[in-house]
Symmetry: D2
Subunit: 148 residues, 4 copies
């Protein structure tokens, strides 16, 4: 299994008066990691969105915290795909203090591929470029008939 690695400096404006990252700002870093993961295989989220008129919507996100990320820390976001079907995928994230084995947090995001254009968004099949990306970072046996 291949993990995508995204490095991020913990920024002043992302930290709170406690001197550590405001937990909600982790989702900024995860969103950036997801965009760069998609870009790493030759296309980009934005190109796919325009080409296929799709939206990639989150249906479930969460984080478990183990140790704080402090201002000016360099952190490493590791991302991979533990499971996906033809319309959905699950991403997992592990965040480490860069150059160490200190696990700062674990997170997940469930994503659904949707067609834009009408009043409401409806689930649709992943475009081929997206499927290819999912396979690149998928765990063994990640491809399912149907995930929830």
């Amino acid at each position: 299994m291949k993990r995508f690695i995204f490095e991020q400096r913990v920024r002043w404006e992302d930290c709170d008066p406690g001197g550590l990252i405001f937990y909600g700002n982790y989702f900024r870093y995860f969103e950036a990691a997801e965009e760069e993961l998609l870009r790493s295989t030759g296309t980009s989220e934005w190109e796919m969105k325009q080409k296929y008129n799709i939206a990639l919507g989150k249906t479930d996100v969460g984080i478990q915290f183990f140790a704080p990320a402090l201002y000016d820390d360099l952190i490493e976001v590791q991302t991979w795909i533990p499971e996906y079907d033809d319309k959905r995928y699950l991403m997992r994230f592990e965040v480490y203090k860069q150059g160490t084995e200190t696990l700062l947090c674990k997170a997940h995001a469930k994503v659904i591929c949707m067609q834009k254009g009408g009043e409401r968004l409806r689930a649709r099949e992943h475009p081929p470029e997206l499927l290819e990306i999912l396979e690149t970072y998928a765990e063994e046996g990640a491809r399912k008939e149907k995930i929830r």
Copy 2:
């Protein structure tokens, strides 16, 4: 059981190019709801932090999304305490489009009360003002020997 109600206008700068709230920004609204819940019973998070030299740290947060909150929507964050012990509490959130029964998302946050001052933070017992607040918004039977 009593729920704390926090109203929030969905702001332009909290929304993304899709026209709906960037999911990570929900945690801004939940943090504000939590602060106002604590303030509603006569003290405030900041007063307690200073008086007792404590920090209230999140150990686990998550959101499940059912319908989007759009720019300029008025939303209602309902908050309550489904369980707590003498050092931790769990908050639940349900977000509705104001004046409707449209559930936009459900969320949770696990919180631990910690003593500041040393190199590391350690779990400590809730100060009495905090316990009182937890009881005010607790579900029946929420008080546990120990929650995880």
Copy 3:
């Protein structure tokens, strides 16, 4: 001259490790103040944007800081229109610690009304609802032939 008053609690996640508001986050509060100013006269920015297919774009913004706004402070944003013409307006902001005469910062935003729909946005005349709002909060003599 009438000033629009907008109260805001300085939130944990808007503050930095120095314990005071990250200066860039003031623009969040100013944006909210502008939206509520527009709403206070019976319409809303969003309604006008949809009805007339316009965008209200900033061309120049700035802040001068005199004293810090600290976490959990209640601040009062005072807003008014020192000058406007038929396509542009200038907003001024003064921020006080609520209930005091302590001026925390002064700010401004120049706004241009633009027509959406083509490839590029072009300046256009304010819709009548917007003109009415500008007049409500305008300084004496604010109406100009042309502002820069």
Copy 4:
């Protein structure tokens, strides 16, 4: 004169429903550019803050906008020091769409070096590492007796 170059991808969560960067979020990018400028000469803002117990406070910031930065654009922030004295410095920023000569915005930030530790912060002389950095990116003749 040497300019410091900082590249930034315009992120989904930094853009608004108009599809372009929310103007207040530029200050996030400028803050990151400033941190990396300081780091580029061998120390870091955080190291200096801890070593000398200083704070670098903004007293005046502003942006003039010429063209929008859109979601997923790669932008180049160019930064330099047009003037400084022994306690203050002025930074200027120009933002270009990467690889083009399209100027998106110009900005500035006035910064004051302050001593922490007492009830109030007081202006103090720049530590030697900071002075060296200012000289590295200073315009010719930037060193003044006293700037306002």
